[in-house]
């Protein structure tokens, strides 16, 4: 076993003892939203790096992007950016997200650092998030840890697991500490054909997410899915040279939420 893999494993085990996530455990990336919220094996880049550090392994050397999310028909918004690069040491990424809701004077800021490496067919990723909540009565802060593993059974079939846990402390008079349940997602992905990819993910054993992606031509990917609440999702990716444009849409009774990411490969 390679030393860095061993080191990463030990690091993961150590963090699992205390690490948890912040206020909102899952921050889904644009691509993940488009395929029913699947992220354990979404191996995506862009904002997905926040929640699945393995995604950085797919990055071609250096990628930077910005993200904007319109939540519930403009009731709230989320903006962020991220960057990652990949070399022989593995993949490194970092990102920043800010969620804001004006009526409640609410702000939630998140900084994320990820590392991932791949040893043969096993990919392992570790992500650390620090979150700051600011609102009318003060705010709070929290930390979270994302641990992801992915095993490529063969080039067309992959298995993944992603665990996220959080701890948050509010800084109000009580000083309450709140530990939240760990979210574990088990996912698998199979390339049905060369240009069609099917994904299935089980969330906390009970929720089921389904998603399909299809490559149309060389530069366009369309995707759709259903999340664990039976909400349909839709998304697409348009790639041209070093630019990548991603969009996803989720609609339910709460309104529509759309995500938009623009990335560049350098």
């Amino acid at each position: 076993m390679k030393p860095r893999f061993l080191l990463l494993l030990l690091f993961t085990i150590a963090f699992l003892q205390f690490a948890d996530a912040a206020f909102e455990i899952e921050h889904l990336g644009t691509r993940a939203v488009g395929i029913g919220g699947i992220r354990a094996i979404a191996d995506e880049h862009s904002r997905g790096l926040i929640s699945n550090p393995i995604g950085a392994l797919t990055v071609n050397k250096f990628t930077a992007g910005v993200t904007h999310q319109n939540l519930f028909s403009s009731w709230a918004s989320l903006n962020g950016f991220n960057a990652s690069f990949h070399n022989k040491m593995g993949a490194f990424s970092c990102g920043y997200l800010e969620l804001s809701q004006e009526e409640l004077s609410y702000r939630e800021k998140l900084i994320n650092i990820n590392y991932a490496t791949k040893v043969r067919r096993l990919s392992l990723g570790l992500g650390l998030q620090v979150t700051k909540m600011i609102h009318r009565y003060g705010g709070g802060d929290g930390k979270s840890l994302n641990v992801a593993m992915q095993f490529d059974v063969n080039p067309r079939y992959k298995l993944g697991i992603l665990a996220t846990s959080a701890i948050s402390k509010n800084n109000y008079e009580t000083g309450n500490t709140d530990k939240k349940p760990t979210v574990i997602s088990l996912g698998n992905s199979v390339d049905i054909t060369e240009d069609t990819n099917f994904k299935l993910e089980i969330v906390n054993k009970t929720g089921l997410r389904l998603g399909v992606e299809k490559l149309l031509g060389k530069n366009f990917i369309i995707r759709g899915g259903v999340n664990e609440h039976s909400t349909p999702t839709f998304g697409f990716t348009l790639q041209k040279d070093k630019l990548c444009f991603e969009y996803s849409l989720l609609m339910n009774e709460g309104g529509y939420s759309s995500l938009l990411s623009i990335m560049t490969n350098l």
Partner: protein, 742 residues
């Protein structure tokens, strides 16, 4: 390495970019330049209280009438001149231009005759008057409407009293333009009703010169400016050379040069003397004397109305008015001042043991023996004190300094312009009195918010002149002389006299924070400010004051319209209630209302649409104040039709201590309702109502802060969406946020 640098650089640039993306005048001085109106009435009852600035005298061309609110024509007593043809032509020109005008007279002559004379078809603007047949010896009161047309008049022999029952005389002064007059023929003119004026455009107000109980209050609303133009006899001239002389006893004697009689004017029959303690003497000032001019008349008067030397110590101002045989009044004379009688008391305070050096900061106290008022002067670095402008009279002067015996002079007489020198040699006194005894501190249940303190003055010499009361929340701060580092809660006493030994002293502390236990001690101080040992330390619990209970609007209750009526329960022994309301739950920039204890509601109009928070506290008779009640809020909507769709609230919005949040909404009509909680990723977290048919009215549901699987949720922001669909399939969706913050 270059890639790493590039990576970091782009990261920073992106970061910076995104973070960035985130009337009156003195009535007497300007009065009618014509006879006829009893100026006493104008002065006392009409002009001054109504704040009319009037201009009289020479004829003012009609081109300047626009400078005034009202143009009034009057005339004098019988036999005085009428308006000339030229003057009346100016009237016609003025009225022809669409302006208002008032004729006012009190006899059957002159002006009305003029009106009759000029009420001819060729004087078109005044044809209205003509048609109403105002005849010589006929009615002399006329009413003009806002079109300058005569609308009513008073018949000969009628009085205003005859009109009032018709209802318009008193009550409609603000809705119609009227001019009401009174024919002086055959009635008592010296108590007569006189005229009105017309104010600006659109209104005429009736003036009653001698308002009585039946006079409505709004009679006293008038214009700021009027011009009274008339012709008549000259007014008397005010006396001159008024000279007040004041002797050392404070007595003021006035002398003056009598008024000269103008040609054609009446002889002076009396002088009226007005006095004020301000330089601006007006007819509103006190009328202190009316001096008749008879055979024994001498232009000299002694003001015997000033008795107290306190009054003598004050500067007074006088002005005169002359009244002639026609009862015409002059303007007020120039004001003359009678100076105050003041003296100076000064001296030096030294130590007996070192008379060369003065005592700094020794307090000299000058006590007025008549009024018992006191003033202090502290000595400077050389020991000098000084009292300037001391009103003449008898005083007691005492001097005291810490650690020295008090010295007093009981009979100090201050005379006018005198400089009295009084020096003191203070004798050291370091004696300490015994501490106060029988000290008690009680927070009675029947008197919440108050802690009652009582103790007895120490026995024996030296006597206690002062007491210091110390208070803390921590008994240790009072023990072992630690209290000496504290600021006393209160100091009682005066240097004038000591407390009788053994006397009971009580003090109510109304300033504690209720619900807390306080510790007290008290010390006694001698006249030379030597502090005794402390009393025992006593503790008392400040019983909380009961808070008012809010009745309406209930918490979360929507309010239709822009008027909010706050109601609460009464608290016994309340002196007042304090109501606060604001557009934020922190009550920043809150509007505060203090409401008398007799009221248990407050109506606020013109409330802006939105969410308003309110709370109450009570102030008891004892001045103890309760804490504020629980904050309630109401959503005010000016459009009742939208209340149902718009009113949806979550309580609390920031969940910190609660294990649940209450979701309250109002339906205007039966609807199919869905209520669900979503996370910021747009995902459904908890469905609370799933397409359920609900009747109109208020509904509420409880969310236990769990997801569909009854698992806890991370802290953070959640969105609750209320979806309402009426029978016409109109869908209204309202989103509210809730922050878990546990």
């Amino acid at each position: 390495m270059n890639k790493v640098i590039k990576f970091v650089a782009i990261f920073l640039v992106l970061g910076i970019f995104l973070v960035q993306a985130n009337i009156y005048c003195e009535a007497g001085t300007k009065r009618v330049y014509a006879a006829g109106w009893y100026r006493n009435n104008w002065k006392n009852n009409v002009i001054t209280p109504l704040a009319i600035e009037t201009v009289t005298g020479d004829w003012i061309p009609h081109t300047e009438w626009g400078d005034y609110d009202t143009i009034i024509f009057t005339q004098g007593t019988s036999g005085v001149e009428k308006l000339t043809a030229e003057q009346f032509q100016e009237v016609i020109t003025w009225v022809s231009a669409g302006n208002s005008i008032i004729f006012a007279n009190n006899s059957q002559n002159s002006l009305i005759t003029s009106a009759e004379t000029y009420n001819k078809p060729e004087h078109a603007p005044l044809t209205g008057v003509s048609y109403y047949n105002i005849a010589k010896f006929g009615p002399s009161a006329i009413v003009l409407d806002n079109q300058h047309q005569l609308t009513n008049h008073m018949s000969l022999g009628e009085s205003v009293a005859d009109w009032k029952d018709e209802g318009y005389y008193y009550a409609k002064v603000t809705t119609a333009q009227r001019l009401v007059g009174f024919n002086g023929t055959g009635v008592q003119q010296d108590s007569g009703w006189v005229f009105a004026n017309q104010i600006g455009a659109g209104c005429v107000y009736t003036i009653i010169p001698t308002p009585n109980e039946e006079s409505p209050a709004d009679f006293l609303t008038l214009c700021q400016k009027a011009v009274l133009l008339a012709c008549g006899m000259p007014l008397p001239v005010a006396p001159t050379d008024i000279s007040p002389i004041r002797d050392n006893s404070g007595k003021i004697t006035l002398s003056w040069s009598p008024s000269l009689v103008s040609e054609g004017g009446g002889a002076i029959t009396e002088y009226r003397i007005y006095r004020d303690n301000q330089p601006n003497v007006t007819l509103a000032s006190e009328l202190v004397a009316t001096i008749e001019v008879d055979e024994t008349f001498q232009p000299m008067w002694e003001d015997t109305t000033l008795q107290s030397y306190q009054e003598r110590g004050q500067q007074y101002y006088y002005a005169f008015m002359a009244v002639d045989s026609h009862s015409f009044q002059s303007d007020l004379s120039a004001t003359a001042a009678a100076p105050a009688l003041l003296g100076t008391v000064k001296g030096k305070v030294v130590r007996t043991e070192d008379i060369a050096s003065g005592i700094q900061n020794a307090e000299a106290i000058l006590i007025d023996l008549e009024t018992e008022s006191r003033q202090s002067s502290f000595t400077d670095a050389l020991g000098f004190y000084k009292f300037d402008n001391v009103i003449v009279g008898e005083y007691k002067l005492s001097v005291r300094a810490p650690l020295y015996l008090v010295q007093e002079i009981d009979d100090l007489t201050v005379t006018a312009n005198a400089i009295i020198q009084e020096d003191f040699r203070l004798i050291k006194d370091e004696r300490e009195s015994a501490p106060p005894t029988e000290f008690e501190a009680i927070g009675p249940d029947i008197n919440p918010g108050i802690i009652e303190l009582s103790w007895k003055a120490p026995l024996g010499e030296p006597e206690a002149y002062f007491f210091k009361i110390y208070r803390t929340l921590d008994a240790a701060l009072l023990e072992n002389e630690n209290y000496k580092a504290l600021e006393p809660l209160k100091e009682l006493g005066s240097p004038q006299q000591p407390y009788p030994p053994g006397s009971l002293i009580t003090l109510n502390d109304s300033t504690p924070i209720t619900g807390k236990t306080y510790y007290y001690l008290v010390t006694a101080l001698t006249g030379s400010m030597v502090e005794s040992d402390p009393s025992e330390i006593k503790s008392a619990f400040a019983v909380p004051v009961g808070k008012p209970e809010q009745i309406s609007p209930c918490n979360g209750e929507p309010v239709e319209g822009s008027i909010v009526t706050f109601k609460w329960s009464a608290i016994s022994n309340a002196k007042s209630y304090i109501l606060q309301y604001a557009d934020n739950p922190e009550f920043h920039n809150a509007i505060k209302k203090t409401i008398a204890a007799t009221q248990t509601q407050f109506v606020q109009s013109n409330v802006i649409e939105g969410k308003w928070f309110w709370r109450l506290a009570v102030v008891l008779d004892s001045d103890a104040q309760s804490d504020f009640s629980t904050t309630y809020f109401s959503t005010v909507s000016a459009d009742p039709e939208n209340v149902g769709a718009a009113f949806f609230t979550i309580t609390p919005e920031y969940v910190m201590d609660n294990d649940y949040a209450t979701l309250t909404f109002v339906l205007n009509q039966p609807s199919v309702v869905s209520l669900a909680v979503y996370d910021p990723n747009g995902r459904l977290i908890k469905r609370i109502i799933n397409k359920q048919q609900l009747n109109n009215g208020i509904h509420s549901r409880v969310w236990t802060l769990m997801d569909e699987k009854d698992l806890g949720l991370p802290n953070g922001l959640y969105m609750v969406c209320l979806t309402m669909e009426d029978t016409a399939n109109n869908v209204v969706r309202v989103r509210k946020g809730v922050v878990l913050y546990k």
